[in-house]
Amino acid sequence: MKLDLKKLKLREVNEKLQSLDRKQNDRNFTIVNPEGNHALCAGLTDEININIKGHVGYYCAGMNQKAQITIDGNVGTGVAENMMSGKVHVKGNASQSAGATAHGGLLIIDGDASSRCGISMKGINIIVKGSVGHMSGFMSQSGNMVVCGDAGEALGDSLYETNIYIRGKVKSLGADCVEKKMDKNHIKKLNSLLKDASIKNLKAESFKRYGSARKLYNFKIDNVSSY
């Protein structure tokens, strides 16, 4: 089904996608003329496929559950913020705070993501094929962030138990963020993440892993399973 934002209001499009008739078989939607609208496809809860043709504004696919959303363009601040599950694929660049506070699901960004990518992430997997800006992974708690390009200043500042994998250069590390050893499990996990993002030409071994030195927060080994 095609939804045209030149003909329909943003609220009508979102309401339609948020309250689908479950007896209906049509699970594929194309949104045209997004024209930078904010909060497009926010709060979806069904297993549907959505293709957005064009550039969108802030908080696209926020709070997503189960839906698979592809954006054929750039996204503004906070794409897939607080996502719980599902998949969001940005074919262009993303603005700041991509995947912020997200608990689950997969966020793939083909271009660059700007500052604070994955801020306070809580379990999402984020894969950026380009580079990320400053303060990325700030206070991130759990999940994986993979960056095929470079990272800006203060990477992983005050982070908890997120694994950050960077292939390129890191301008500087934030407080309590250190380079860590890659063991077999990390290589395995990273290879599966690269596969999820259809990245075939890069080897997991070419990345470096960064994580918490556990000096800034009170890490207790008894609680490790909760991360």
Partner: protein
């Protein structure tokens, strides 16, 4: 929060529709700033003609026209709502003196060979309509929609700020060292007409440009001297530049095609521009000065 927009034409293709492009951008930034709006348009005039953008407020236009024509030779006047564009070959030094002495109720919004500036309290859509922005042609333009924070909702507190010949600046954000910097600049001879933080940034740029620094170098040193949150767009007769502070909390997105460069706080301000979907779209990096023209 405020909305800032700007467009710089790299070719002549869209010169006639510059006003229309800019008004669409302003209208779409209403959600970021409903209190007041303003814009500056650069359009080259015949050599040796100066343009003075004046806010005449409640003053009767015909009466003003009669009186000013007596004092300033060869003056041509056009009225746009409560603003008047005065064109004359008379040098700024003389004209500014006449205006200050004979018409104290009138404020000079800006002047130069190319710039025309308009700003007013109210919704951006109404402001653009009152000043007939759609009808303007030109080479580049800058606009602002304001949600007031640092000073009151008045025409004086509205952007763009122009503190030098053919210069203007718009700002999304707030400065924390503006009082100190204002005092320093006053000592160097700058004149300020408001308590607004952005006017200080504009004054800083004017001061530096008058010391023969380039626009780009001025903004690079501004990164050290201006403390606070900002995305600035500045314009000069032949140039146009954008800079964000190093923390980069204030948004900005640039769209560049072979015919123009557009910048706005949000992409939705540019969604109506021609060929925007095939434009190179990117976010200006923190602490990096982007400039076009001279």
């Amino acid at each position: 929060m405020c909305g800032i927009v700007g467009i710089y034409l790299k070719t002549k293709k869209y010169e006639k529709s510059l006003g229309k492009m800019l008004s669409g951008m302003l209208n779409n930034m209403e959600s970021r700033g409903p209190d007041s709006a303003g814009f500056a348009i650069y359009k080259n005039e015949e050599k040796k003609i100066f343009k003075y953008s004046l806010c005449i407020g409640d003053l009767d236009f015909n009466k003003f026209k009669k009186e000013i024509s007596k004092k300033i030779n060869k003056s041509k006047l056009n009225q746009y709502s409560d603003h008047v564009i005065l064109k004359t070959p008379i040098e700024p030094k003389t004209v500014i003196k006449i205006i200050n002495n004979s018409f104290p109720e009138i404020s000079l919004v800006g002047y130069g060979n190319s710039i025309e500036i308009f700003k007013q309290v109210g919704n951006p859509k109404d402001v653009a309509k009152k000043f007939k922005l759609d009808s303007f042609s030109g080479t580049h333009g800058i606009g602002h929609t304001r949600m007031a924070t640092e000073s009151a909702i008045t025409t004086d507190g509205s952007h763009p700020y122009s503190t030098g010949k053919d210069e203007c600046l718009v700002h999304n954000g707030s400065l924390s060292n503006h009082n100190n910097l204002r005092r320093k600049l006053i000592k160097k001879g700058n004149i300020f007409n408001s308590e607004n933080d952005t006017e200080v940034a504009a004054g800083y740029v004017s001061n530096s440009l008058s010391n023969k620094k380039s626009l780009k170098d001025t903004l690079v040193s501004g990164l050290k001297d201006l403390d606070g949150f900002y995305t600035f767009i500045t314009g000069t007769k032949k140039g146009f530049a954008v800079v964000r502070d190093e923390i980069a909390c204030k948004p900005a997105v640039i769209a560049e095609t072979k015919n123009y460069v557009a910048i706005a706080s949000e992409f939705q301000a540019m969604a109506h521009l021609p060929d925007v979907n095939s434009a190179k779209i990117f976010e200006p990096e923190p602490g990096i000065v982007y400039s076009w023209g001279n």
